[in-house]
Amino acid sequence: MSKAALLLWFTLLAAGCSGGSGATEGTLIVSAAASLTDAFMEMETEFESTHTDVNVILNFAASSTIREQIFEGAPVDVFASADPANMDRVAQAGELDGDPTIFAINRMEIAVPPDNPAGITGLTDFGRGELLVGLCAEGVPCGDHARRVLDNAGVTPDTDTNEPDVRALLAKIQLGELDAGIVYRTDVAAADDTVLGIAIPDAVNVDARYPIAILANASNREGAESFVDFVVSEAGRSILTRHGFSTP
């Protein structure tokens, strides 16, 4: 994990960290969960167009990975996590400036290849041994949520693989190598026609609540505040909704 932090450090150094406190100008380093990729890239474009003096640098990774990077001292200004658990651990370590805010809510959805060759209809299919199904690994928020969903539905899955991150899981579904997997609704939206989504009933679904927070060691505090304000603003919320999130 410290290796990843080191890599992040070098990348950011290379990108040129300038800007002191007291101004929004300069670089703003935002580490966000992988599932926020498409939404936050649009967020970056919009934000930079109205804040021309700020250069937003986005770092996407699993929330747990970002957590470790922060612990190892990586220079992050804003952290957007895919689950409160990782954010809480960062908070407990005293790394946050103020409290986190829930800015987006994601739900889980079943993803299948576009032609749905295995004829998946719902969660119970995950118990069928003859199918090839996958989940995210335990410890990865996507994986934990998926397991809770299955638990709520009373299904014991016959999993064939626990992928290290949701993008890998999605890739295998897109290729047709897996018959089904449980990913975020936003992932299905972002994947367009490359996967087909099958809704999970609200009753058994889980709310994945996404918190965002400013780091105590942020080098660009003004910029960070500006960014978080933008994320929770109308403009930010509409971007999020467009990508499949709900907002609180």
Partner: protein, 253 residues
């Protein structure tokens, strides 16, 4: 000056090791290492790495022989292909295997349709991915040895009545023996540590495809102590193998 540089070189290897050892939860170590996760991972790693080494031996030596001794058109290209897994990022290699041998793959689909055999998500997938990345080491080592050996010995053997197979068995292979052994060690070592191609092609499931490297990676999220314990296990296995084969290793190189 030489000593200073050598010491820096050594530091590259020692420092991370010390970092790892420093994090080991010594008191829980026995419990962690005898857990199902660890034992399953160890079993799979041993099976996969030994299988990959064996396959590399059986298939790689003839390939090396062809590259070293037979002049056929496109030989340079073939050698380039054999070296490709060394250059490609392992994940790219795994993706390529998926495109070729996955259930919807170029060759995998007809295979699946004909026999119902699915290679990903099985130990076979792990073995294939592992062999893919490690066999080049054996081929290159053996080809080098065959090229640099004095081929006049083979001529002398034929004047003594030995036919082609006899020459191969009684003269050529024994003469490249040390290099063959060092090639096998390198191959096994690469196979044992393989991660990217395996996780991309075979996926990761405890007891079925989750080798030690995969278990460590995923464990770093969920159970850090277990991950560190398994890392230590890998280091220990590697050290034991390399120390036991120490003499051969140096003589061969």
């Amino acid at each position: 000056m030489l000593i200073v540089l050598a010491a820096i070189g050594l530091a590259f290897f020692v420092v991370p090791l010390v970092g790892l050892v420093g994090e080991v939860p010594w008191s829980e170590l026995p419990v962690l290492l005898t857990s199902e996760v660890a034992l399953d991972a160890l079993r799979l790693s041993v099976i996969a790495s030994l299988s990959a080494t064996l396959i590399s031996l059986v298939v790689g030596v003839p390939l090396a022989y062809a590259l070293a001794r037979v002049e056929f058109p496109g030989r340079g290209l073939v050698r380039g292909l054999v070296l490709l897994p060394l250059v490609l990022p392992p994940v790219v290699g795994g993706a390529a295997l998926l495109f070729a041998l996955g259930r919807r793959g170029l060759f995998g689909e007809p295979l699946y349709e004909a026999t119902g055999l699915v290679l990903p998500f099985s130990i076979w997938g792990v073995i294939i991915a592992t062999t893919f990345v490690s066999m080049p080491f054996l081929v290159i080592t053996v080809e080098g040895a065959l090229r640099s050996m004095d081929t006049r010995f083979e001529g002398a053997a034929t004047t003594l009545g030995a036919g082609r197979w006899s020459v191969l068995k009684r003269v050529t292979l024994p003469l490249i023996g040390p290099s063959l052994v060092s090639g096998l060690i390198l191959t096994w070592a690469r196979a044992f540590g393989e991660f990217g191609a395996t996780v991309t092609f075979a996926g990761s499931l405890q007891g079925s495809t989750q080798t030690l490297p995969l278990a460590v990676f995923i464990g770093l999220e969920a159970n850090r102590d277990l991950a560190i314990a398994m890392s230590l296990l890998m280091v220990l296995v590697a050290l034991v193998v390399l120390i036991v084969l120490r003499d051969r290793w140096w003589r061969a190189l």
